[in-house]
Symmetry: C2
Subunit: 229 residues, 2 copies
DNA sequence: GACGATTTAGACAAGACTGTCTAAATTTGT
DNA sequence: ACAAATTTAGACAGTCTTGTCTAAATCGTC
């Protein structure tokens, strides 16, 4: 929007840097204290900036909050799609590959600073800003889950998995892979790497017990066996 | 608990009723507005009580908050253990019985008013009151998950399931059964009953594909089969 | 009906916070 | 080095909130 032939003459250099620094500090304070408890003086101090500069950049506590959520959503989406691009489409060792994918997803998008902050802000203030979080819902789960479901469908089509509904399978994949991190997430903590790996390993094993091809290679029998057990 | 013979003359009747009414109103306001944003005048108004009465009963905004969390934790635990008692130890139709159990657990303990409020308060303020929420962690997941794990171990011992680690299985059961409710939970919403039933149905089906005995009926073989698959 | 305890309404002081304003200091591009 | 833009520190009014206090009203029980 700030177009110019010569480089951005208006906000030369430190301008954008300060904007980012304010956003980052605000994210931390909003998460720790909640919207109502967040203190603009504190945000300014943590950003290493005067209070007036905060107002110059974002005008308003509410506008600042919106900017924080939008920034976090964008950053997380970038990370998630970059990670989805590493989904094992033609797996060598399916179990190991899916575990690696799950660990990457958790470490790069969910357990990192941005992911943790965005999750907390959504949980905390989601009901207060319906449109803002409807936007997140569309660009977040509404986009990433179908993308992952498509990858699972591809694995099923390639004969690696037996899946009825790829969308359900994608959601269950997340549920399984994060099953052992729920309590930590609830309390706002960050799981250690070995906890992430263990949860992912157990989750993927169970996932493959449910959806993996049975050892017998030729048998392509469908899942009608347990229908009315 | 409330003895009738020469009833407690101290708080005759309306006293305890007002205490509860305050706790309930405070729970709602704390959830909506967060601790910092919660307004004691508003709590008093929603409780149908004067502000001074709130202070008479609970003394302090922070003490009031603690009382709310403790009350919610107790109530939820009662509900959870009552529901765990309905776990299908000797199932007729294992799939249907587990689905029923999962739906009961969700509707009576997680999606109801108390469960929703407690979850939100833990997410929102958990980091600010470590001891309080350590207490919740012990009495909540720390107690209920082993209890459910024990039930799954019993089903495995009875030959209904093939489970390596009952604790992992219990956590994965939760993850699967709630897999399709995560987004709704994130935003503080309450899923409709049919959504709960669908998520539970899909979750239990996948759970049984992973842990259910293979169709062969008479086989009571122990769980050594898939040990190192 | 009377008595003791509880509740109520309202006033109140003390403190905190937001958002604005101003003038000085600093940075940035030329 | 100069000029324009940006940043800073501090003061400021206005509002809101908490927690206390007091005197009147209400409730429950005998």
């Amino acid at each position: 929007m700030r177009a110019s032939v010569s480089p951005d003459t208006f906000p030369p250099r430190g301008h954008e840097a300060k904007r980012l620094s304010i956003i980052d500090a605000a994210a931390g304070v909003f998460c720790r204290e909640g919207f109502a408890g967040a203190n603009i003086d504190l945000i300014a101090a943590e950003a290493g900036v005067s209070r007036q500069t905060v107002y110059n950049h974002h005008g308003d506590k509410e506008k600042l909050f919106m900017a924080v959520v939008r920034d976090l959503t964008d950053r997380c989406n970038v990370g998630i799609f970059a990670t989805i691009a590493t989904f094992p489409d033609q797996p060598g060792d399916l179990e190991a590959d899916l575990i690696g994918f799950a660990v990457r997803l958790n470490q790069n998008c969910i357990c990192n600073r941005d992911g943790k902050f965005l999750r907390k802000l959504i949980q905390t203030e989601g009901e207060r800003y319906p449109e803002l979080f409807a936007e997140w819902r569309e660009q977040g789960p509404g986009t990433t889950l179908p993308a992952i479901a498509a990858r699972f469908a591809r694995l099923a089509y390639g004969g690696y998995l037996t899946i009825d509904d790829p969308d359900v399978a994608a959601r269950q994949f997340f549920g399984l892979v994060n099953a052992e991190l729920q309590t930590t997430f609830m309390l706002g903590g960050t799981p250690r790497e070995d906890e992430v790996v263990r949860s992912a390993t157990n989750g993927v094993r169970t996932f493959l017990r449910a959806f993996g091809k049975r050892p017998s290679p030729g048998s392509v029998k469908k899942h009608t066996a347990l229908a009315n057990a």
